[in-house]
Symmetry: C2
Subunit: 257 residues, 2 copies
């Protein structure tokens, strides 16, 4: 498959969104620690604002105000608004793609790889709604297929088609359908539970926000890729592999993962 | 199906986005004509800005500047920013839903109704990209299932399930999948053709922007609803019904439809 853009090789990342992960945080000089905290505040503020409004509608001043950081300090950390946006894109679309590669490293069935990726994406969006909001806001953009997650989807779907595991009329419709279903499912978790539509609201226990929502989305994605329903359901409910690197990143961020 | 929100009854609309359609434009008083032109300029400007950035990131001043209209004049036409946004939503999500109902009025097969709706939605987004951009921007919002297009999708999918024409695991996943595929397909037409991903770009002739793209999207949607591929393809390629009202609206807007 010579035409699929090559995903970047897995790297042992030394940075998370919040900056270098110190080996022993307590021993860091005070200045370095404060600098890291300021960077984290700027990134958190930019994430919330850009997930809500998109990059173009957010000014540097909005970010520094929300982060409670002086305007000039911004430039100690980022060269421009595009710079901080690039850091967020790196985090949402590249770093997470590496996490998925880690999680799927011992799997060989393309269907299982896609199912695991879909479930982890949905679970992460539920855990970190602002991350999910930025993903669906920017995921339809001009550049999204060139970023890590898009490239990974192109690669995995092509692998499944080449191995005759996926049977789809064409690659393009496959990518369009899978992307759309995942984003709509994330939007459903973010929004539809509040919707005025009673059939959706009443399905909450077993539907949006329910325990098995990610698995049901994965099953539909596999059916779109040509698997029979029973097989899709079975694969979508297999035990999830876990990743040491994901655990490490979560701990470094001091967030409940 | 008592729980599906009832779509509003078809109405003989006397207004389009641009205001009342005069029986004989030349005979309108100059003042009334100018007022209508100003309203149309404000709506066109708001549509472009809100499709790009969302309602919250657009100020009334941005709209009047882009429309080249005095700030105070805005209030001769709309009570607030929310007012002009509501007029746009009415146009994108309600008026178009009525157009689809008109187009499908002589069809009885739920699969054919869905296919015609999907194809017309894709064709309109291609013809009027800013309309398409507002649709996919607001279509994932909290309120979208309560608006005309969302209610219509809930109604039509429920009808197909009740008639056993659609076979889906559940109604929620059906709505999520169909919505996602349509929006991703519109985004593909708006953006992906410019993407860095070679497989998608090279498929342009028969893919994104190709003559049969809307039909291929409709076929995938029908497959997601449980139809076999051959049947889905057949229905997706049936001749399209045309609507007198759509022709009239297009002519009134003086746009090439």
């Amino acid at each position: 498959m010579p035409d699929i853009p090559k995903p970047r090789a897995n790297r042992q990342r030394t940075q998370t969104l919040r900056g270098p992960v110190p080996a022993a945080e307590g021993r860091q000089p005070r200045g370095a620690r404060r600098k890291r905290e300021t960077r984290a505040r700027l990134l958190d503020a930019a994430l919330k604002l850009m997930a809500e409004r998109g990059m173009d509608s957010v000014a540097i001043n909005d970010i520094t105000e929300a982060a409670d950081v002086g305007f000039g300090s911004f430039y100690n950390h980022f060269g421009s608004k595009e710079g901080i946006f690039a850091a967020l894109v790196e985090w949402v679309f590249e770093e997470f793609a590496d996490t998925l590669d880690q999680l799927a490293r011992e799997l060989s069935d393309p269907a299982e790889i896609v199912a695991v990726s879909v479930r982890h994406t949905l679970m992460r969006a539920r855990r970190e709604p602002v991350w999910g909001r930025l993903l669906i806001r920017e995921g339809f953009s001009v550049h999204a297929l060139g970023w890590g997650l898009g490239q990974r989807l192109l690669r995995d779907s092509q692998r499944g088609i080449s191995a005759k595991r996926f049977v789809v009329p064409d690659h393009l419709m496959c990518v369009v359908s899978v992307t759309g279903i995942i984003f709509a499912a994330i939007a459903a978790e973010l929004h539809f539970a509040l919707s005025v539509a009673p059939p959706v609201r009443r399905q909450k226990a077993s539907g949006v926000g329910g325990q098995n929502f990610a698995e049901r989305v994965a099953a539909v994605v596999l059916q779109v890729l040509g698997l029979k329903r029973a097989e899709a359901e079975r694969i979508a409910h297999l035990p999830l592999p876990t990743s040491r690197s994901e655990t490490r990143v979560c701990r470094a961020k001091s967030r409940s993962c």
